[in-house]
Amino acid sequence: MIITLAGQPNSGKSTIFNDVAGYKTITANFPGKTVEYTESKIRIGKEIHTLTDLPGTYSLTSLDPAELETRTYLLKGISGITVNVIDASLLARSIELTIQLSELDVPYLVCLNMMDEAKKKGVIIDKEALSEELGVSVVETVANKGIGITDLLQTAVRDGKKTKKSATITYSKQVEDAISALIPSIRSLAARHSLPERLVAIKLLENDEYFDSLINSDSLLEEVYALRKKLEDSYGHPSDIVISSERHAEALNIFERVAVVTHAKNTTTEKIDNFLMHPFYGYVALVIVLVALFNIVFRLGSMIESPILDFFSTGVQPFILEFVPEGFATTIVSGTVDGIAGGIGIVLPFLVPFLIGLSILEDVGYLPRIAFLLDSFLHKIGLHGKSIIPLILGYGCSVPAIMGARILESRRDRFIVITLTSMIPCAARITVILALVGIYLGANWALGVFIINIVVLAIVGYILSKLMPEMAAGMMLEIPKYHMPSVKSVLNKTWFRIKEFIIVAWPIIILGSITLSFLNYYNIDSYLNTAISPLTLLLGLPTVIGVTLVFGVLRKELAMLMLFQALGTENVISIMSKTQILTFTMFIVFYIPCVATIGVMLKEIGRRDTFFAVLIGTVVAIIMAILVRIGGMLL
């Protein structure tokens, strides 16, 4: 049986999923969409079932792609039962989605999650009464402590095998009259698409575009318009607002019948927010949090990095090469080992702690607060607060960061944010900045590169949003309560993002590495150096490093190693001047993202937009490198 988890964002759905899902969890997209769901086989008692975690949605309208896909999926009827996960401390609001689920007329049960939070807030819920109201089972859980989950799944399986109808939740007389008036006319329409009649009637009254598109007769359309008009006239609001307000009112009524609030006190969340969202201290705290995050990540990362790299270059590489015949095969093998080592030794030591840190911030509930604090700054460059989340992820690895841009609603925002994200120094590029600029020019210069990077991104963002003006709908997001993150959920989130690196980026890195040693073997690099010499000359860089610039695209984290190789020494300063080092680094930071990133960009924004994003990055890189060169000549 397929058991489906549906619920509002931050209801703890994914915590439940992560608690029981095995390591064979798959993340998939709905056909042709960027909306994702995750799925895992789970064992309940003696049986194996499938657990599907749908995206969190506040309601089930057809304007939001995630909501529409969720609704379509549930209406297909492939799911044996739906578990409506509810944050018990936000019961009143959550019931609005429950009412919509009941309208879909699919079997479901309610999971009252975060019961401990509800108790702390003084909300006492009579779960029998709620079960009575909705006509479905109600199970209590505290998912982040693993309480009640076995009971939940067993109840789900048991209810999924029954064919009991849930209760119909009714609206006010006026709305019910409109529904009853419409039902006879839509009978055949509902039957043709095998949809529940009541659902079709409600959705048509609610101005739902998808259901509107099913109508194929003018007389029905006129009838729908007339009924909408009648509702609008008597309530003074558009009919969609009428229905959604009624649903809200009904949810409140149910809440009042099944729950009592014993004491409403200033919660801990509000007290913390008085500080963390303060117009001054909030920003101080933000800077401290980010500086601490990067400090821990890079201290930890560099501690792990060098022993791993040493192990590969002095242990694994010579050992394997003993068994490989001299010549061409050697280049292939050492290229492969280099590629694997690059992934394990250079990227993962930084990426893993970074993603763990970020998952903790996400689970605690700090990310939406960062969006709030930075919204007005991002507005200056034509974006809004939510964009900050993929941008921050970009400092880890561009691949998951670009996928993270899916949270943005508009296509234009996604394009701008993805273009900017590809220019943010990822862990690989940060190591280049630290190892070249940090060592040869000093820590302040390295910090300067990061600051210049942010300034340039702000300018590029500003220009792009001026070129692509759009009536931005603006930011709207929930500011959830603070939560103690659960270890399982943090590790799972980290694993999902790492998996994106391992599956998408790493194979490409290994291929790139093989190509590179191949080119070395046939001495093709000297031809490339000549071919690229107009660029190296323009930037005032030694011609021998041309190949590094070209193939930095294959593996950015190797740009530095390749530089050593090209120069024939690790003591860069003996051959390149400080200006040249800075020019090189600046170019590496901005220009064409690595092939793995290009791969994801193609998937997320298509060929044309990827081309423009890459072009923008390259132009910016050339301009910045020339500026550094000119600066160096003046000083």
Partner: protein, 75 residues
């Protein structure tokens, strides 16, 4: 007196009278609990024309100034 939410000074409790704008905006605002008749409290305002943080029922939402302009309220 009716005003737009974006014109309200900070830390006030107001009643929503209506929502302007297209279907998309109306639905997005409604699904986060901003219905006509609902009382909301402005708890925090972001600096430099930043967003509002509102308390709606028992939860908090952040909403940009642009969107706040679509909400008609009464003090």
């Amino acid at each position: 007196m009716t005003k737009r939410l974006s014109d309200i000074a900070k830390e006030r409790s107001v009643e929503i009278k209506g929502i302007e704008g297209g279907l998309g905006i109306r639905q997005r605002l409604c699904e986060l609990g901003l219905h006509p008749g609902e009382r909301v409290t402005i708890e925090k305002t972001g600096i430099l024309g930043g967003p509002f943080m509102l308390k709606v029922g028992d939860h908090h939402i952040a909403i940009g100034r642009g969107l706040a302009r679509n909400i008609i309220v009464e003090e």
